[in-house]
Symmetry: C5
Subunit: 359 residues, 5 copies
């Protein structure tokens, strides 16, 4: 979680003092190189290739086919600069692509839409969620996607669908491709939520059987992951809502129906996060009251022991006194009588605690 914190803020201040529009990469450095992949298709043709330099993409610009340029790794700002110049991107858009500390958002620049999303990855080893920012430029017949450069993404099945000549994806335009990408990102959230759901279940199990101070830290950790997740997902609602309500001519009506579907999924993701938050809060309550209950149990043991043995020790103490004239000491069965007395006292205490339901 301390990583999240760092991720959100670090390095931002490095840029303080530069003119707006300066291309400086803000955020964690995720990769060294930059890998550019181009997919170009229409209903009949399909080209998929890795290209060595930004210039290689320019030839696709004026074709009527749909072009998807995917750029993995944003450290080499000159690549971005060239593509920005070719596709006429606004300086602020280019600045934002490099700033990986953004909230999901959508901006309408008439000629294209600029969409920022967060891909989430779940690391099984540390049980933590990490993010990779993806920027989409959605034009009339091209999509440019910028990823931070973490190995792999969530778009493999989109590529698969495009490769398949008979799929609906090939017949429809760039807006449907944009929908497919957004859908892939949101669909992936469900698998993250599943993992978190499992963590919550496991923690609950533990909470009932054997709560420790460690459990508390795990609850706290989960709570934080929720805050973090919520921050990444919540603005999506507006983003996809904005896309769907059709403030841009780039999105066709046919695609809007599909976007409504993604919108529903987003609401469902947010809903589930809220439910998880409620659950985790409830677990904290349970934890705290189980701590109180255990304190009660400890104190009862102490009280029972003290209440039984203090009077007995007192009695023993009395007959340990060295007064010259203590008639009981002289009695033949004094010692046995005193044992009987002590037994009776002990039994009375036991009955008392039994009645109080402490035993």
């Amino acid at each position: 979680m301390q990583n999240h914190l760092k991720k959100t803020i670090r390095k931002r201040s490095q840029k303080t003092g530069l003119p707006p529009g300066s291309l400086v990469h803000i955020g964690r450095q995720r990769s060294q190189g930059t890998r550019i992949t181009v997919i170009d298709y229409d209903e009949t043709r399909f080209i998929e290739q890795d290209v060595a330099s930004a210039e290689a993409c320019f030839s696709f610009r004026d074709k009527p086919t749909v072009t998807w340029i995917n750029i993995d790794g944003i450290n080499q700002t000159e690549v971005l600069e060239k593509i920005g110049a070719c596709y006429d991107l606004h300086p602020l858009v280019m600045e934002d692509i490099l700033n990986t500390e953004q909230r999901p958002k959508i901006e309408n620049y008439d000629a294209y839409l600029y969409i920022v999303l967060k891909m989430l990855y779940y690391d099984d080893k540390t049980a933590s969620v990490s993010t990779e920012q993806i920027s989409l430029i959605v034009g009339q017949n091209h999509i440019i996607s910028f990823q931070e450069g973490i190995e792999g993404d969530v778009f493999n099945h989109v590529r698969e669908l495009l490769r398949n000549e008979k799929g609906r994806a090939r017949r429809l335009g760039a807006d449907y491709l944009a929908y497919s990408l957004v859908d892939a990102v949101v669909d992936n959230y469900f698998s993250i939520l599943e993992k978190l759901g499992e963590s919550i279940e496991a923690l609950e199990e533990k909470l009932v059987t054997n709560p420790t101070a460690e459990t508390l830290h795990q609850i706290h950790y989960l709570k934080r992951e929720m805050i973090f997740l919520r921050k990444a997902v919540w603005p999506l609602r507006e983003v996809i809502g904005g896309l769907e309500r059709g403030e841009s001519a780039i999105i066709s009506d046919a695609t809007r129906i599909y976007l409504r579907d993604v919108y529903d999924h987003t609401i469902q993701v947010i809903d589930t996060i809220e439910t998880y938050r409620d659950m985790v809060s409830g677990m904290l309550d349970i934890y705290l009251s189980s701590v109180s209950n255990r304190l009660n149990a400890v104190m009862k043991v102490l009280t029972i022991i003290a209440t039984i043995f203090m009077p007995l020790t007192f009695i023993a103490g009395v007959y340990g006194m060295n007064f010259r004239y203590m008639p009981e000491l002289e009695w033949r069965y004094g010692y046995f009588v005193i044992w009987v007395v002590m037994l009776i006292v002990g039994i009375c205490m036991g009955v008392y605690f039994k009645r109080k339901k402490w035993l």
Copy 2:
């Protein structure tokens, strides 16, 4: 409750990677087979029959009578495919019908309305609430309902009303039938709430008389059921509000007045759930402070015992010392005097605690 968790999320991720519109059943498998029942009626005629295959329904499509096709069990996706083709359902609708993890919602596809609702069942044995999703396709003169396939539903009295030639239900169209179905679902919520209300009362009783750690878990469990119920019911407000405000030509004005009534009921259900939530929260407070109170009681017993017997044991200890010159030991009535002293000390302590209201 761990079931709820699983229900909400599980199997969703199986679908990641499939193209949108793929017909895959998401959610718990509730039944093996699929049972199709058709009710077809107008003011004078009434047909009710079980049909063996989806094709048997097609003949009803172009009749002017109102047709209600009820499909129980959605595992056999080919049935859905055939009906979807016959009634021209959008691929996303068919996908959503199979996904039983949805929130209640309404979607307007001009030719028909697509409504998702949750039927609730209360299991007396486990004192838990389970859901069955029901999808309604409301067309001009037909209604298609898809249930997950749990044995039984809440529509028996609707069927009864339709069988009765003189009822209002037979004179009115498919929109009134849709209202009747929605009304049946919402009416059923009241009986669920009654059951939960009884659980709350029983728990309250217990909380006052004999709160245990078990009580805490029951409160927690009830709280969860509330979160779960709220999630199922809350979106209904929007759904029925949307129906009533008349965004679709399928709903006639006469039916709208009835929908306003269902809307009121929904508000009342939500209201009651909120009240229950407040009550359950209050019970948690009570529980926690009763734990504190009991700790106080335990500590008082300990303190009283210790405060009385420690000084007495000390006195006995003093006269158990073996100094050669201890004048008291030689006194004839030393032992009796010391008993008197100890009694006085004990009584003083008792009076002190009486005054402090600890006894």
Copy 3:
């Protein structure tokens, strides 16, 4: 409070399975018989009479005078049926009149307004608030009010005003009468709030002087009464706001100014309920921390006693040992020296606690 719970839900489920519009009385049975009173007036004439049957009211229907038919007790559904037929009430309205579990609401049926309100009664003996539902049918020149049938209502002064020939009430129409009735209901809330305010004050007093476990239950009880009251009053805001904003032609502009006044009162009632809720929440905090404080006090007593007597008992124990060679035991003033030592130890402990401010 368990009554409230029962009231909200019970018997609702009896109706599950009946067609919408079925006239079944839902809610607690409040009275056996039904009493019908008619007041008919204009500026010059005034008639007030108890009538034996519903039919006796029909003659007033077509008169130009203002008619107020008050029906006390709704168990005899045939009375309601006759009146409903005569005044042409919608089946859903009649169903709602019999359902005494409703939220306050207003519905506009063009020819008349249907208003549901809650009258509140404060029972001094049990210190609890109970409700009686009142349904108003406000037509152009008639008002029909249905009460659950509890003895007495809050309208006596309205009747008094109508009897008085010179009052404004006689000159104005049915809408002003409707206002007067609503105003009487809301005005009555202030006296209920006064009673609750007194309970809160008394409880506060107790909380400061002598908080017991009983106090906690009383706080909890008050909190519940607030939840219950809030539920009854909150929707009124919308109801009266709706009346005032003039969505109906039945309400004249002159009456609207008066309704604005009632609206203000409703806001003030809601405001006061919220303030009370805040107060009661604050009292819970105070209670919980006073429990903690008392635990602290108990523990201090225990610790002081133990800390003083444990070392002393140890010293006494040392000189109770039976070693053959213990030089101190042989000293002439050993015993007195040891007393001095023990006194010094005791005083040191006392000073230590004095400094720590525990004494």
Copy 4:
């Protein structure tokens, strides 16, 4: 605070049963007599005089000059009745003027605006805030202000400004005077907040240095004052917002800019109250955890003492046993050895606690 409670509700119920518009004074009786002051001015003339009776004001009504009639004390309802008749006030306005339990509000009666505000006074002795309601009738060229009758008000500097011939106030109309009065009321809130801010600071100081049960009650008291203040100030936002947005022709555009300024001040007051509420809540948290911390400290002392002396007392007890054959007792240096053993045990315990950081 119990006063606030009483103020909010008491005597309200006395009025239950009277017709709307009845002139009955609701609220605490603040003064016996009624004092009427008239200020009449335009750019060149200025008259300020105390008048003996309501009739003396009537001559000012038709003059073109601006007239400010200030009525201090509202017990003599006949004064109000006369003025109401002369200036044609609505019966409900006159009723509201007498009801000093109102929320701040604004009502537009075309010919005049009716504004209700709360003046606040801080009583240094009891450290409590009290209110005085002020009703303003703002007409085209007259302002009538009704105060409850507490000695003094916050308008002295407004009067001073009017007396000064060169001030802007004399050139501008009744609406600017209304602004000045509202501004004076709101400005006064800042000094109240200052006082409360000082109380909070003092309490914080105390909380850190020496928290007692008394501190808790003071926090609670402050919290209540905040609830009370908030209730008095919050509706102002709407009132002044309504004035500024210009729903009335009485307010000129020039004055609107000044009202925007007052609006800003109101927001700032509300903001500060919210900040104080957050602070006071934080103080409660601090208090509760300091109570827990002190409990911890107490328990540590007890545990240290018990853990050191219980084993030692046990050892002493062992060698106080009277067995015939106890070889250690016969040893020459047994006693000294046992002292060494006991010292070692004691030191071990000390080291253990040192390591646990309890010492």
Copy 5:
């Protein structure tokens, strides 16, 4: 924090009683003198100079070039008066410039916009955030900025950009300069947040390893800083949103796109503050439960010691009794047997606690 409190309120009351528009400096006195700097530029020319008096600025007023007059220190009200007269500022604007206790806001006076912002400074020594208010007058071709007079500001890089002939800044008008200044202020917030983020991380570290009462006060302190920060930043949202939505002709469309960017940053700042608040709240929970856990640990030690030694001491006490007939005392191996018994009792207790997982 006590400083914040004082800053918010102090000295405000000094002004009570003065006519609106009086020029009195409210707030902490930050500097003695006043320093005026003028920057005047267009695409080709650039003048930057310190001027001695307000009059020296007047010559720039009617030039077509963009003029930025920066006034550092607002104690000398005559400077403000002269500039206000020259640039025709509304009296309320001049009053507001001198009142450094304001919320961020924007006001549209047709000929110019009046913007109030808060610059934040982080003091590393006290780990506290302080504010400096900056007022911007944005006219058609001039900007006047008033700072409270703290040494230094956040605008150095803006000046640098202006000095550079080739920058975009020199080509664009006063509205772009206004944007640059607002952007500089908001960008600076990120570095403040970074510092606070580091404090939170450090505190978390401490919370896990070694929580003390000091930690609690630090959490509380951070919570307060958050309240304070939130109050300073939250209204910015509206301010910049207002600028961007273009309610003024002074802001050109080209600049609006840049303002949208600042708006995004503001949302991000607010978002981060909210996240921090959630984190700090979570830390409080952790702290409180760690206090409870430590109490548990302390009590366990006490209970273990008491439970082991009380029975043993009792046994020793029994055989310290002086009855004449105690057969065990005479046994040859009585003493050794009793040691064995005591060892067994001790071991049993140890096993019991081991099983209860207390050891």
